[in-house]
């Protein structure tokens, strides 16, 4: 069984074993009056499971998932980088399957987050990055681990991270996070990506630090961080 926050997925049957908590949002009312008819015409997800076109696996990207992406379920974007598409292809595929099974519309999100997303989508600008998922600021964030977390990556990578954390502590950095989901200066979660190190400096500014072997990965990490939090100070290092 896989637990996705709101529901369990039974891998033997590739099915979620309970109903989507957000399913009521996709079910039309009995068309007894004008208000109900108007409501039915404005169902989220263009009718959800009641619109047969939504059962199409690649309809979210105009039947061309190689060229287009739809990270937030509202607009189709031209994929900006072939490398990113290739790297994320597996995750996208799984995300799409989940959506079809659930009759939901928010791609790549669990049912629980879909509910939050639906509540916040009118006021929150969603992240353009598919792997992050727009998070409501009110959702809070995990407590910081103060840089004391499990080993991340191989020895070289982890040693470089620990060395950086030691330096930050000496400089009096606060809210230090090692390999935790991205937050902003207020400690609110802004993305599901996990920068190697995050902290707030003495001026209250939020820093994200990444160290990579591969320059392409490094650039992608930087793009994701900036997209999630434009105010973050991003520092990308390459491991020699």
């Amino acid at each position: 069984m896989y637990y996705y926050g709101a529901r369990y997925l039974d891998p033997k049957y590739s099915m979620l074993i309970s109903t989507d908590p957000a399913h009521w949002e996709y079910i039309p009312k009995a068309p007894i009056d004008e208000e109900a008819k108007r409501y039915n015409q404005n169902l989220p997800g263009m009718g959800g499971v009641f619109n047969h076109i939504n059962g199409n696996l690649y309809h979210y990207a105009g039947n061309n998932p190689v060229k287009y992406t739809d990270p937030n379920g509202e607009f189709i974007f031209l994929a900006f980088s072939a490398a990113v598409v290739a790297a994320k292809a597996a995750a996208w595929f799984v995300g799409s399957l989940v959506i079809c099974a659930a009759g939901g519309y928010v791609i790549g999100k669990t049912a629980e987050n879909a509910v939050e997303y639906a509540k916040s989508k009118n006021s929150e600008k969603p992240s353009p990055m598919p792997e992050n998922g727009a998070e409501s600021a009110a959702a809070g964030s995990p407590a910081p681990n103060n840089g004391d977390g499990k080993k991340h990556g191989n020895d070289d990578h982890n040693d470089a991270i620990d060395k950086k954390i030691e330096q930050i502590k000496k400089e009096g950095g606060t809210d230090i996070r090692k390999n935790q989901q991205q937050v902003n200066a207020k400690g609110e979660r802004v993305g599901r990506n996990r920068p190697d190190v995050q902290w707030n400096d003495a001026d209250g500014k939020h820093h994200c630090w990444e160290i990579d072997h591969n320059p392409t990965n490094s650039a992608n990490h930087g793009a994701v961080i900036t997209a999630n939090d434009p105010a973050a100070i991003v520092d990308l290092q390459l491991l020699q």
């Binding site: 600021a137 964030s141 995990p142 407590a143 910081p144 103060n146 004391d148 009096g172 230090i176």
Partner: protein, 190 residues
Amino acid sequence: MFLSFGLFFDIKDIHAFCTNELFDLSKYSNLDITFVHEEIKKDDIKYLNKAAGLKSYDGYLFRQKDSFVIYINNLSDNWITNIEFTCAKYGYTGLYIFVDTESMFPAYKLYYFKGNEKRIIYSMKDGERWVFFSHGKPQDFEMGELYNERGATKKFNYDKLLLFCKNLGVNLESQELLIPTESVYHTYAK
């Protein structure tokens, strides 16, 4: 339940502590912090103890309780860096507790500093899953098998955190611990 506080065992004189450069918060931040010795109402504690993600940088509270100095504010990391740094530099013994059962990311965190040595045990919901982390040499009163159970919340939870603190002479169940009944040092950040 939400608890977040730091505690120094070796510091007996709160006045010297709050006015000494040892714990000069302004050294680590651009905030202009003023120490004020005044009465604190019970309701202020609610303001100080807020869950992670609802941070603000308005107030800190120092008070003396039994034989230690307790330090409360509304930061989710409670300036733990500062506590760690102070303990390491001056050889003090300190404790940091963080318990959050209210938010969607619950956590039970315990950091025990003894000079340069540190003992860290925490279990918290980090993103979508619970994680358990243990670092440092176990204390004499710890029973290793406590952390052998399967599942992060069984390995370390509020009961085990309570037990650890009791062994150090800190009773988390005591209301007097966190709710001030006497005058305290309150700091303002401007």
